[in-house]
Symmetry: C2
Subunit: 188 residues, 2 copies
């Protein structure tokens, strides 16, 4: 593994454990076994390091979400696929997802939040466009895309947060229940 990958991995571990603001670049380079100029050569700044982490490792989630939200002719099936997609990703990248989750509700002027906000907005936009498409099949959804997208993400993240803390298992029954619970707030 080259030094760039080592830096990304150690930064993820440290950010996910104690938070972006609480970690200094010195600690990252020590854990990675390199020195500061190496980090600044590859990423330019501490901010650039987090941006690289987010852009590179979170992109698969965005891509799969774009695919899952591209059609809305069977809304319940699409919702189940979206839940499944998030659970799969969180299981494949628990540290990354936990880090993103910690910044989800975070604070507007915080640097880490602003970096993560870009991909958060992408997810929100994809989900909103899904609900716009769905409203051509379910007329009573119209105009509520923002709230639907946000509550869907809220429900997903609540369950993933529970799973990350070990309180629940990610069974097919759980996915089904989560979809049902969310749907009940939608079709009414």
């Amino acid at each position: 593994m080259d030094n760039r990958a080592k830096l990304l991995e150690q930064a993820l571990h440290l950010f996910a454990q104690r938070g972006y603001d609480a970690i200094g670049v010195q600690e990252i380079v020590e854990q990675a076994g390199v020195t500061k100029p190496t980090l600044y050569h590859y990423f330019g700044s501490k901010r650039g390091l987090l941006e690289a982490l987010i852009n590179e490792r979170l992109q698969p989630l965005i891509d799969r979400l774009a695919h899952a939200t591209s059609h809305a002719n069977d809304v319940p099936a699409s919702l189940a696929a979206i839940f499944q997609l998030y659970f799969d990703f969180a299981q494949a990248e628990p540290l990354l997802y936990h880090m993103q989750l910690a910044m989800w509700f975070s604070l507007p002027d915080n640097e880490a939040f602003q970096i993560v906000a870009v991909s958060s907005a992408q997810q929100q936009a994809l989900l909103e466009s899904f609900f716009v498409r769905a409203s051509s099949f379910h007329g009573n959804m119209r105009g509520r895309q923002r709230v639907y997208a946000a509550t869907l993400l809220g429900t997903i993240n609540t369950y993933i947060g529970l799973w990350l803390s070990g309180a629940i298992q990610a069974t097919p029954q759980l996915i089904h229940q989560a979809v049902q619970q969310f749907s009940y707030g939608i079709y009414s």
Copy 2:
């Protein structure tokens, strides 16, 4: 307003805007118009300042939650009261609630998270005991208190997060819908 109160207020503003880790004590005392020994006289440390903020200003929420969860003979009514209580508190203390919310899903080894975790655990415990009581009326709830308490908080915080960002209004209809949505995942 005395210096102690000034320090608490300015610390809340700064913590809620940029996060605990991103704020230095120097900035707090400057905003409050005092000097560092004053802060250390009243709170002993930066950590003690956040602890005082949480303990003093979040206590009313805990107290009201303890009252609302003390009986469970009418579960839907109690759930509505709990939702209403959280919305009322978030409207009365938006900065404090936003700060707490930002630390909700936060990271285990982070100092700010550990401080807020105490009151989070209190809320979780009160809600769990409510669901234990409720299970004497609804037998199928037994053994699921932890998950119910966590998903209830998740639903509440999703809606409050939406309200804090200005996306929704806190109408009685919204409370009703949120209770319905949560209940649908419970009684099944």
